[in-house]
């Protein structure tokens, strides 16, 4: 059951290149939440009106130095809301509504390798997912793409916790030059049974979903959308899906029916 709780900034770590890891104390939510769920975070008294949605980045135990009962979210400064958030110091008040939405399906059959595909800040839900998978005895592999070497937050964390990390940058400043789709195709060519989890910009997710479909690989993606409420009433965050059966796509809410959806559900 989501709760709307006052919280306070515990840490707001500057990871460089506009990336921050925000930590707040919310023990009940921390105990309930699953990877892929999110919080609507607000700053009391701020000039920003609406709260902003942030995926859960860390579950209890994801980050070794995180106190019990804390929640972490990874974000990039992209506008007024995130700029304001990045200016908050420990102790500053927040409101945190969550955990919200549908998370990742962590049931991976034995012998199936989970493969995470992240684009830039789209890696935000993956530490929690990797930790959740590890707790079930599987270390995932990661294909991590971004525009440039500075746009790969928590890369070192992933290198420690994932089976294999393949990096691709559009400018070639780290790893392979180009998009994630090329190394993804290469990896899948030699791989056995695989299950894909994707999060990143829409064009990337569309490409990843197409690759997964062409190879018959199950794929879940975590979607991002502008939201006013986060709990299903504003209908602002919709995505076109095939949930209505044949015929015309219907609009489903990213905040309730998502943010994680099976890739084949989405009307790309």
């Amino acid at each position: 059951m989501p709760q709307d709780l006052p919280a306070a900034v515990a840490r707001n770590l500057d990871l460089g290149h506009g990336h921050f890891l925000l930590e707040f104390f919310a023990p009940q939510a921390a105990a309930e939440m699953v990877p892929g769920q999110f919080f609507m975070i607000g700053i009391p008294g701020a000039e920003v009106l609406l709260r902003r949605p942030f995926s859960v980045c860390g579950l209890p135990g994801t980050f070794a130095d995180a106190p019990e009962g804390s929640v972490q979210v990874l974000y990039k400064v992209v506008g007024r809301g995130t700029a304001l958030l990045s200016s908050l110091r420990p102790g500053a008040p927040l409101t945190a509504l969550g955990p919200l939405g549908r998370g990742f399906d962590l049931e991976v059959a034995s012998g199936v390798r989970p493969l995470l595909v992240a684009g830039g800040i789209g890696s935000a839900p993956f530490p929690a997912l990797a930790a959740g998978l590890a707790a079930r005895g599987t270390r995932p592999a990661l294909v991590y793409g971004a525009r440039s070497a500075g746009d790969l937050p928590l890369l070192d964390w992933f290198r420690e916790r994932c089976d294999a990390v393949t990096v691709a940058t559009e400018d070639g400043s780290l790893g392979r030059r180009g998009l994630v789709t090329e190394p993804l195709e290469d990896l899948l060519a030699g791989a056995g049974a695989t299950r894909i989890y994707g999060c990143g910009p829409s064009p990337m997710l569309r490409a990843v979903a197409a690759i997964a479909r062409s190879r018959g690989i199950p794929c879940e993606v975590s979607l991002e959308a502008h939201m006013a409420c986060g709990f299903g009433v504003c209908l602002g965050c919709v995505v076109a899906t095939h949930a209505g059966g044949g015929g015309k796509p219907v609009y489903e809410r990213v905040c309730v029916e998502g943010p994680v959806m099976p890739a084949e559900r989405i009307a790309w």
Binding site: D4, E47, L49, H226, A228, V233, L235, G236, Y251
Partner: protein, 311 residues
């Protein structure tokens, strides 16, 4: 201390307190059960209902703007039949007035929805949405044309015995004119304002932010405009006025009440704080206690202006 009396009568509609939730910001009410007790509200106004389900507009549908937000949802809803069959039975269990917001593309469609709701148990009133700015036909097309507004109001009046509220558009030259039409054609009350038409531009992509190009502006940004509209309309008609526009807290609601609103609706605030409307109702009670006022009804339209205020 005596508990202040918050009850009001909006024409034939009796409310335990003057705070309702605005259509389109409160889903079908049930989504809010994790966050509040519906019985603490005067009433809820559900998402606009059309004869058949509507899929709504493509995304992007919303964007935050200074002190407000633009939306162009396009009246996505489950349709009146699904509402009556699936949502209303669950809502009936709660001690709260349920107001159905009604939308059609033609007069016949408005009438069809009103008739279906009239025969459903558990509704307290109907609010006619003749002011949605985000649909191609119907909506604001009715609310901005006095002759069309007269036709749809009269037809719906004849289609239901439920208290009838016409929700007015502020996107008109003189909102008093449409308010008078609603009154003349048998509406029991008017609610105002629906959103103001606006747009936002993404200057990097050189495109409108919203797929619909324009959207409806809500939130604190429109509050002074909405208070002004409430003040004007409450002096132009004899039927009760329900005021809304950017109410975030009790003091905002009091602006509308003092300007002439018998009741208020809380909208955008529900998105930000799911229990915002309950907070407004509690704040009103606290204000009355603090000022030794026995009933909120004593405050309605008691704004003093000019020389009056100096006495």
């Amino acid at each position: 201390m005596v508990t202040p009396d918050l009850s009001v009568a909006v024409g034939p509609l009796r409310l335990k307190n003057p705070v309702l939730t605005a259509s389109g910001t409160f889903g079908y009410g049930l989504e809010f059960l994790p966050f509040l007790d519906l019985a603490d509200l005067g009433g809820i106004v559900v998402k606009g209902l059309s004869p058949r389900p509507r899929r709504g507009n493509p995304p992007e549908r919303i964007v935050e703007t200074p002190a407000g937000m633009l939306n162009a949802i396009g009246l996505q809803n489950v349709g009146v039949d699904a509402f009556v069959a699936e949502k209303l039975p669950a809502l009936r269990k709660h001690d709260v007035a349920v107001v159905a917001n009604v939308f059609g593309e033609t007069v016949a469609e408005y009438v069809e929805v009103c008739e279906k709701l009239d025969s459903a148990a558990g509704l307290s009133a109907i609010e006619l949405n003749v002011s949605c700015p985000n649909v191609e036909s119907g909506g604001m097309a009715f609310g901005s044309d006095p002759a069309a507004l007269a036709r749809v109001t009269r037809a719906c009046r004849d289609a239901t015995r439920l208290p009838l509220i016409v929700k007015l558009s502020p996107n008109v030259t003189d909102i008093r004119e449409t308010a008078r039409v609603a009154e003349a054609e048998g509406s029991d009350a008017v609610s105002l304002v629906n959103t103001y038409v606006g747009m936002a531009v993404d200057v990097d992509r050189r495109r409108p932010v919203l797929a619909n190009v324009s959207g409806g502006l809500s939130g604190p940004a429109i509050r002074p405009l909405a208070v002004w509209a409430t003040w004007q309309v409450s002096r132009a008609v004899k039927i009760p006025v329900i005021g809304m526009g950017g109410i975030m807290a009790a003091r905002d609601a009091l602006e509308f009440i003092l300007a002439g609103a018998t009741a208020v609706q809380v909208g955008t605030a529900n998105f930000i704080h799911p229990d915002a409307a309950v907070g407004v109702a509690r704040g009103l009670a606290a204000y009355l206690s603090e000022h030794g006022i026995g009933t909120v009804r004593e405050l309605v339209g008691t704004l003093r202006t000019g020389r009056e205020a100096e006495r």
